[in-house]
Symmetry: C2
Subunit: 869 residues, 2 copies
């Protein structure tokens, strides 16, 4: 059994898992000789034992806490009982992975009605009662779930009644406020404990429990942090940034978290506690100003900041407090940063020879890469756009959406498929679910390190903070921007890189690949083993994919090509043909269209391989449904509408997903597949004659039985040979493979491999069939599933390794039994998911294929998967 509690100065190598990130860093800094206020850490293991069985606290943990407090009293020469040397402590959560603002913190613990008077004598009335009232408020909130707003209202009422601010209250008036706060406890059937040690016990238990609060759970789900780790609790003697004007508190990054520039970046507030900076209630000042105000402390800080960055080999996010000109470092951690900054910092650190290329590749998260290729507003359009307000550029990107003022409304609109911009005075951890679903977040208060800014950067969501000219009226769901009144649902556009908020919809374009990104991805490619292909079929998407570094096309769908006005008419003729002549005539027209399509597509991908999937959707998807459209079609076909309608009705299906589609069409209507293959090879041959090297890869979808594959492969091969003959060219190599997207295909993969040159897993359909979920219909129950924690990850975004992954693994093993070196890829949505890629690497997949914009992140993810493998 490990120890339950460690003092910061204890020499141990337990690290983050046991002490949490904050605790481990406090220990580390103490060892480095930095001015860290004394304290100790209750381990994550204690948290887990408590959460499993709350009696653990009484039976074991309590006596260790009492012993530790006694030791802390000796170390600090302060006391929980003596009146002259008051020990006050902070109680902070700290998990192994940083979860900013998700769990609870209580400051100033140790004050009570009596001790606050001594404290007021030692310092001053305003400061002492400020601390005590903060304690009551935080304690009420954290331990007894009394909403903080209740306290604010009570304070506000008294301030109004006395017609002055709290800081100007007399001691008696301060006590009046405290009594009012204590009454709030009573109305909630609880009382504020006067005994400091009892305060500590309750606070510790509450922080343990905050591990399992809803917003912390959601945060962990989003960031793929396991639920079983627990949080450590750090008990630290208090220092006071709110001791007057030669005190203060701040948060500083050792480099710029937005740009990566190698220069201190941060903010501080004079005469404030740490919460004031983070909560965004007052707008802080830039760190440089400190140089003038408190030059000694500033110099000292700069020194420690350098020391810490060197030590941790990464940009640090440091919290400090100055108490009467004396500097204390309260916390350090690797700083969150924008993608752009992350990239700049990683490359700089390599240039400074502090990191290797491999370490740099491992340090950037694939999600960060996504931010770099986020769209920005089209400059040309911006000149005409109506600027509503300007704030701080807290997280880059550009987004348009409908205005909402609450997290609930954001979720509600999102569920209806709307894009939303969440505008708040300030955000709080309670808003997390609403923030996740928003296109952008805007706050009227708070700085670059406010809650909104930190969370938004973490998610790569566009964010503007401190937009002070906005006047938000939450009750009436409106806001004033100067003289413009905007209401819920109005369209606004947000530029997170410039900090601007615009009226209406503004078109976006994509940033050019920057050189830093190119550099990093070039390194990544060196370390990767999985290849990255793209899912694309339009010439512009194919171009984007190649530009983003796709090594080929993993899935070019052919059905989209039939939807143009002229084409869909011919397709409809094919489907509804009454005789062979009509059928063949329409098919010939489609052949011409397809030939031109494939010619352009092959040209766009140059010499890179491209897998073309034959027609997949059921026929009825190409047919009209409204009576109006049917009438038009009937006229075009020179048929009676009722007749056409009848034919259309006959083609309807109860469960189209499980219906007459994919290779089933190839079996019942071989001529359509033959036409497609003829078009593919005619184009390939044409290009070959023009000097290009084309090696077509044809993919047969929705195979469930080896006979399907055998039958279709047979007639397609005949068609290919005929085409070579007709075009009078020597046969050249080509491949015919199959999509594995049904559970049965996985189970018979060894047999399918015999008639297949390659496999490509269609994880979307495979996930649908394995779960028995229709993506079109899960909306009806998936919210219940998330709320009740029945389904934490969306299996359409991140591979369900337990079920679907097991089938894929089985299929790969079976296929390799038949054909050791067969090329096997993933072309479903999860192919581009960084959390799924290591699994694909492990089971021996050759390539993943994703949408063009996901390629840069995927290139990094495959390199990382190989490096950590």
């Amino acid at each position: 059994m490990n120890k339950l509690i460690y003092f910061f100065e204890e020499d141990n190598n337990s690290g983050k898992e046991l002490l949490g990130g904050k605790g481990a860093n406090l220990a580390e800094m103490t060892k480095l000789g930095l001015p860290v206020p004394s304290g100790f850490t209750i381990t994550t293991e204690s948290c887990i034992r408590f959460l499993n069985d709350e009696t653990f606290f009484e039976k074991e943990l309590k006596e260790h806490i009492i012993a530790s407090i006694n030791k802390l009293e000796q170390q600090t020469n302060k006391s929980f009982t003596e009146e002259n040397h008051l020990l006050l402590v902070s109680v902070r959560s700290g998990a192994a992975s940083s979860m900013p603002g998700m769990m609870d913190t209580i400051l100033n613990l140790g004050l009570n009605d009596k001790r606050v008077r001594s404290f007021a004598k030692l310092t001053n009335v305003a400061f002492a009662y400020d601390c005590y009232s903060r304690l009551l408020q935080m304690f009420g909130d954290v331990v007894y779930s009394i909403n903080k707003e209740n306290f604010n209202r009570v304070r506000h009422d008294l301030e109004k009644q006395l017609n002055k601010k709290q800081q100007d209250f007399s001691e008696e008036q301060q006590q009046q406020l405290i009594e009012a706060f204590k009454s709030l406890f009573i109305t909630h059937d609880v009382r504020f404990p006067q005994d400091p040690i009892e305060q500590l016990f309750e606070a510790t238990k509450a922080v343990f429990k905050s591990w399992n609060n809803q917003r912390a759970k959601v945060y962990r789900e989003i960031h793929h942090i396991p639920h079983h780790l627990g949080t450590a609790v750090n008990i630290q003697s208090m220092v006071f940034g709110n001791s007057g004007n030669n005190s203060g508190t701040g948060v500083v990054f050792t480099r710029n978290p937005s740009t990566g520039e190698n220069k201190l970046f941060g903010e501080f507030l004079i005469n404030a506690q740490g919460e004031d900076v983070v909560a965004g209630i007052r707008t802080p000042e830039p760190i440089e100003t400190l140089q003038n105000l408190l030059p000694t402390a500033y110099k000292e800080f700069v020194h420690y900041a350098e020391q810490l960055e060197k030590h941790y080999k990464d940009m640090q996010d440091i919290e400090f407090t100055i108490e009467n000109e004396k500097l204390f470092i309260l916390q350090t951690r690797n700083g969150k940063r924008t993608a752009k900054a992350a990239l700049q910092i990683a490359l700089d650190l390599v240039a400074e020879q502090r990191l290797t290329k491999k370490e740099a590749v491992l340090r950037i998260s694939p999600e960060a890469i996504d931010q770099l290729i986020h769209p920005i507003f089209d400059e040309k359009e911006l000149t005409n756009a109506k600027l509503l307000a300007t704030g701080l550029p807290a997280s880059p990107g550009a987004a348009t959406g409908e205005l909402v003022f609450t997290a609930e409304k954001a979720k509600e609109y999102h569920a209806l498929g709307k894009k939303v911009i969440l505008v708040r005075q300030e955000t709080s951890p309670e808003d997390i679910e609403g923030m996740v679903v928003s296109q952008a977040i805007v706050t009227s208060r708070g700085g670059m390190t406010s809650h909104a800014a930190v969370v938004a950067r973490g998610m790569g969501t566009c964010c503007v903070t401190g937009c002070e000219s906005l006047h938000i009226q939450e009750e009436s769901k409106t806001m004033m921007c100067g003289d413009i009144r905007l209401a819920e649902g109005d369209l606004v556009s947000v530029d997170g890189s410039s900090g601007c908020l615009y009226l209406g919809d503004i078109p976006t374009i994509v940033v050019e690949n920057n050189q830093n990104l190119q550099q990093l991805l070039a390194w990544a490619d060196e370390y990767a083993s999985l290849k990255v292909r793209a899912n694309a079929e339009t010439v512009s998407d194919l171009q984007t994919a190649i530009d983003f570094g796709a090594s080929g096309i993993g899935l070019a769908r052919t059905e989209h090509m039939f939807f143009g006005e002229k084409r869909v008419l011919e397709m409809r003729r094919v489907i509804l043909a009454q005789d062979n002549q009509e059928f063949e005539a329409a098919l010939t027209k489609l052949l011409e269209f397809q030939q031109e399509d494939f010619y352009q597509m092959f040209k766009a991908v140059h010499d890179k391989p491209m897998i073309i999937r034959l027609l997949d959707p059921p026929m009825h998807e190409f047919l009209p449904h409204t009576m109006n459209e049917i009438n038009t079609l009937a006229k075009q076909l020179k048929r009676r509408p009722s007749e056409v309608q009848n034919q259309i009705e006959k083609l309807q299906e109860t469960n189209p997903m499980l219906g007459h589609r994919g290779c089933r069409l190839g079996i019942t209507e071989p001529k359509i597949y033959q036409m497609q293959v003829r078009a593919i090879f005619n184009s390939a041959i044409k290009l070959m004659k023009e000097g290009f090297l084309v090696r077509p890869e044809v993919m047969i979808p929705l195979v469930s039985e080896e006979n399907e594959l055998r039958n279709i492969k047979e007639f397609l091969t005949e068609t290919v040979l005929e085409t070579f003959k007709e075009q009078q060219v020597e046969p050249f190599p080509y491949e015919i493979g199959t999509m594995i997207e049904l559970p049965r295909a996985c189970l018979i993969a060894d047999r399918l491999a015999m008639n297949s040159d390659f496999f490509s897993f269609g994880t979307n359909d495979l996930t649908q069939m394995t779960f028995g979920f229709s993506r079109d219909d899960i909306g009806k129950f998936i919210n219940s599933y998330k709320e009740k924690e029945i389904m934490v990850q969306d299996p359409f975004q991140t591979l369900d390794q337990t079920g679907v992954g097991e089938l894929i693994k089985l299929a790969v093993a079976k296929a390799r039994q038949t054909k050791e070196g067969m090329m096997i890829g993933i072309c479903g949505e999860v192919g581009g998911d960084p959390y799924s890629i290591p699994f694909f690497q492990k089971i021996g997949i050759d390539y993943i294929s994703c949408s063009p914009y996901r390629i840069p992140a995927a290139r990094l993810a495959v390199a990382q998967a190989n490096l950590i493998n």
Copy 2:
């Protein structure tokens, strides 16, 4: 390498696999000293080698055939070349499993233009040319696919022209007929080979190839005979039943194949070849008559028949020919029989101590049992029914359907979901696919051993043959029954047990379980290890199931109960409720209904276990769809129709099979499941108080994730405990289990087992998901799949062992890892399929559950599965 050819008298134990059933029996009979015409058998292995590579014939087989013919010439003292001792042979197929009429036969082989004259001199002109013209006709049909009808037409034309029957032709006129037949070959670009050995080569090759003709393949599919076995070819010197009036040919069963009575049963024709009896062209006479006509031959035959039955320990189906009073046995095999006869014979043989009980259980096929519980017409209704015609009661049962006159039409109507009665002058092997889909088969010609009768008995299809008063006009698709004209599509009813054909629809009832069946199934139960449960929920079905010997109920669905007029209204109220009050009020009504349902159900199954499945279908299945119905509903609910319509539309799903159903309803609407469980336990407690022993088994459907199961089990368990408390009874044992019907459920079976008291595989849905097939939609492509032999077995009827079976096997193994003794059953359609049951036995399933009428067959099948295991 085995020998390619065996003479009948060669002592070998190669058996049926190598020699085919016919060849092995000919060898066996020769060894027993029976009068079998000399000959030899070309092995099935030779057939397979030939079918794989036709050059095998020239390279190897040919010389062996020549050597064998030389040996046969010596044995018979006849010759293929000499004119005075003409050797004529028959060439017959003979596979390991009997496939009556499916493959080809050629008789009289060895005749040619010249040899027929010598033959005419040795016998007589009419006989010789009859033989020769038959040879030409059969050879043309079998070797060159020249339709037999062409020959008949030529013969008919000449008979008309000469105004006499062929048997009365002069030799010159006979030769004229032969020349006309030979011209038919020429018009088909082939010629009839004059060299007997060449005839033999071509005939042998043609018989080999007939293994793969369409009707043989279909037959094998129906009877689950593997396609890779091949057929042997038997070359036997001819004897002639058509040598005049002291010659003849017949087919005799050693016991009655309809009733099992221990008495010779058969037919013969004087002056005829075997084909005449089987083809049903002339109506033959009962075997007893032979006693008077040819008493010596008859006595001899009776002797051999007894010998053969003793030898084979089973009822024999014997073909014989008498040539100028000399008896030859041409073939014997275990006779096909009705279920009733099979049962009687098996029980008699046990009584005669020729079979053990085990052997008797193994001898009856489960399909035969199905026939015994086939419906018969209600006697009361029969008195008023209009009798159209009477024929031979060829295969028992009773059926009503629409009249069709061709196999094609039968298939076409069947595909439209219609029940059809196929009426033909006579059936031929080409009709097999139409016969399979018919409710009953009626022929106007042919006897009890005609093609129609044999095939129908084999399939358990009701059949009447030799209904000579029917005048069928195939062209006009009508038939005259006396003065009544019936057209295609008219409703008729057929009684296969009485041989009667009636006009219109007659209600049927089910035969009482007869004592023989009870006896056999009692023996079966002794040998079984798998239990047989029933899928049933109405009180009458539950009663039938118990009467048929179900050991419990494997699947009682609860949704059917909501469809009564009053109930569906309450269900709709629940679904469309606008407030909680309305919801609860309707739910309470449903609770009352369900309580009464479950009370009656528990009572019907007595002390046997019953698994009740909670609500499974999506909510929209309970809602109306037409505007009329919606208006009525709106009135009932006192709501606006447009509002109700809106709500209904919102509930629609794109793929309901993959939608909001099963346990997903349990998650989103826990109160409905709670209501159901409350109803189950209230009823159980009520019965318990009345002195019954009830142990409810509750099943949760469509689970794909362990959290679903955990969540639902948790709140259901709470409800159960509440119910015990409310009813003030001591808790008694009950089980909560889950249906495994999604691929993912199979993959995580180990985890699901932790929260499940039992598993029941829902193979219908599991098959749908594994293949990605919707049963509602496969109609659009399944016929193509069958035609192109892509899907041979219907995976919804017989388990797909390769895919679905693999998943089930995996799940069983995983579940047993978690809970060694957990009860696991099968409740999908394939649970009652005799071809799937051995697989379930092998992988360790505890019980199968099927519809009540399939229970007797299943009881036998599970015993057999255990005995052969």
